[in-house]
Symmetry: C2
Subunit: 228 residues, 2 copies
Amino acid sequence: MAAAPANSTTFSGDVWAELRLADARDVPHIHSLIHQMAEFELLTDLFAATEELLTSTLFPSPTPPPFTSFTALILDLSPSPAVPDSSSTIDSRRFDLSASPLADPEAAAFASPRGGGRVTAGFVICFPNYSTFLSKPGLYVEDIFVRAPWRRRGLGRMMLSAVAGRAAEIGMGRVEWCVLDWNKNAIDFYEGMGADVLPQWRICRLTGAALDKYKGSQEEAADGKAAA
Amino acid sequence: MAAAPANSTTFSGDVWAELRLADARDVPHIHSLIHQMAEFELLTDLFAATEELLTSTLFPSPTPPPFTSFTALILDLSPSPAVPDSSSTIDSRRFDLSASPLADPEAAAFASPRGGGRVTAGFVICFPNYSTFLSKPGLYVEDIFVRAPWRRRGLGRMMLSAVAGRAAEIGMGRVEWCVLDWNKNAIDFYEGMGADVLPQWRICRLTGAALDKYKGSQEEAADGKAAA
């Protein structure tokens, strides 16, 4: 094994992973994680997140119950056993790193606001969607992200399994998310979890100036200017 | 022009199209329209909608404000000028059919519950989604459908324009929907409206038995049975 870089924190032996509901204290880490995700997806040109917007849109007052609206989850890793909190813990599991210790050069920067030596290693953003064919709500997973040093340890599987489990338990008819067609590792992983990758559907997007030009189109009609 | 079939209602001259919020009285027509859409998409094997489920999921009591949760809109056509109702009208426009009268063989079956000779010709189902890169809500259009005799008259454009306009006005950052890659007419139409059709993203879906197997996966973890 390569020596850990200076300032890196090494995790070995047992660590405890907790997937929990996020709150406004997690916003700085969520912001940093979204930026890392944009870098990974080669999409930093689309990155326009700010901590202020994340706070107001993800944690309005009052914040709706989880999975009924936009829902942010945080993955914390802890060197000591997590004590599940029924109000926020979605899932918690022990992982054994003794065969392959893990150096996290960003552990200090991603210290969890929950304290206790916890480190934030990933996040999920999800919200309800709707299937007319099923006439039922489903869950759309907008993002599921694990920081680089923590990948390939089963944490992504834990996160997606927990979210899918919760969706199934509350009666949702399906769980959906998107993947880039060049991300073969991710596609293999998702198919291994039982997901279908739909080959025929394409996403259409109207944004920026192309969207803004539709503002006020209804008022035009009311003025009698519209025609077939 | 071919003669209209028996029992067909012919519309000619001016007709008035109204896109309005649906309510529970529209459920039978919404159910029929979803089935027609499944036929058009060659996806009747996925059709499992029932009127009971549509009513309970689209029109819970109390029904949330439009565009904050699952939102159903109906397109009604009327032979006489529509009087917009500020509580339900999203858009209303006059269409001139004098150059090409239109025979609707299903006009009687799709009589609008609003009466006044109105005929229901289409529907939209949409709901908020969330972009982490923008840190803003957007609007996802799950379905936009016009019955066959009413197509190619500008009604789809009216519906999508009105929905996009409303989304832009309430500060949403983007409007998204999906299209089948073989539906070239639709792709050309959407691109003509300013949308980008994203080539690289694929939808992943976990449903049915593949989803149900994740039920209770969290409890397993709590029992200490999970491992990396």
